[in-house]
């Protein structure tokens, strides 16, 4: 196969974004680990956020751990991975600001799944980028907790020309 060897970026055993350097990208879904539609939606959303970041910024996936950490923070934050219901199913109980704890933990786990580094190094990278990346809600403009929020985000997107030309 021509080109550099592919690098598989694996989510928690359910999905991955396959990137072949200098060639193209795809999202691979592991059907043996995806058991219902809601989980499928979350995995696809998670991986599409990585794809979105790949397209909108110069993301150095392979040699810059902070870039990887940032995209994983955003994916955990915006995909629904860390919803209250999902955390309760994982027996992680918490309410006040628990979403942020979940995002930090799951971003760290995602990094450890694809990089041969220590947990401390992964956690440090997440901590360094968290403030910036947690508050980066593109392309939604908000955290899409459910369909209502997603619908409002889409409405704002469709209204963007009017919005930016009148402020």
């Amino acid at each position: 196969m021509a080109g550099a060897p592919d690098e598989r970026r694996r989510g928690p055993a359910a999905g991955e974004q396959l990137q072949q350097q200098h060639v193209s990208c795809q999202i691979v879904l592991c059907q043996n680990n995806i058991h219902n539609q809601a989980h499928m939606n979350r995995v696809v959303t998670h991986e599409l956020i990585h794809a979105f970041d790949h397209c909108r910024a110069h993301v150095d996936w392979f040699t810059n751990i902070r870039h990887l950490a940032c995209s994983e923070v955003r994916a955990a934050n915006l995909s629904g991975d860390c919803s209250l219901v999902n955390e309760i199913f994982r027996l992680h109980f918490g309410l006040k600001q628990h979403h942020q704890t979940c995002v930090r933990d799951r971003a760290t786990l995602s990094i450890l799944a694809v990089r041969n580094i220590s947990k401390e190094v992964a956690k440090k990278a997440v901590d360094e980028v968290f403030e910036s990346c947690f508050n980066d809600h593109e392309p939604f403009g908000r955290i899409p907790h459910n369909k209502t929020y997603a619908r409002y985000a889409h409405r704002d997107f469709e209204n963007r020309d009017r919005y930016y030309s009148n402020i």
Binding site: A2, C55, R56, Q97
Partner: protein, 105 residues
Amino acid sequence: MADGSGWQPPRPCEAYRAEWKLCRSARHFLHHYYVHGERPACEQWQRDLASCRDWEERRNAEAQQSLCESERARVRAARKHILVWAPRQSPPPDWHLPLPQEKDE
């Protein structure tokens, strides 16, 4: 901000009402507390709704100014984080190409 007769509120007034209504809902309170650890602040949406209606009815210049300032503050708040990576001007040219094994088929 576009001046003169061409200006209109950045969002339809119904959008301000919908955002205010969502913000005040119990479900949003729960989401916001779960994410930020505090109750949401919804007063600005209410002020913006009032300004929007005021402009629609009376073409009030103060209402227009208030709306613009409010929305600019929202944009500033959304952009105040320092980016970890450099933004692109356009997507990578090869992002949509088929994989080699698909090309060979």
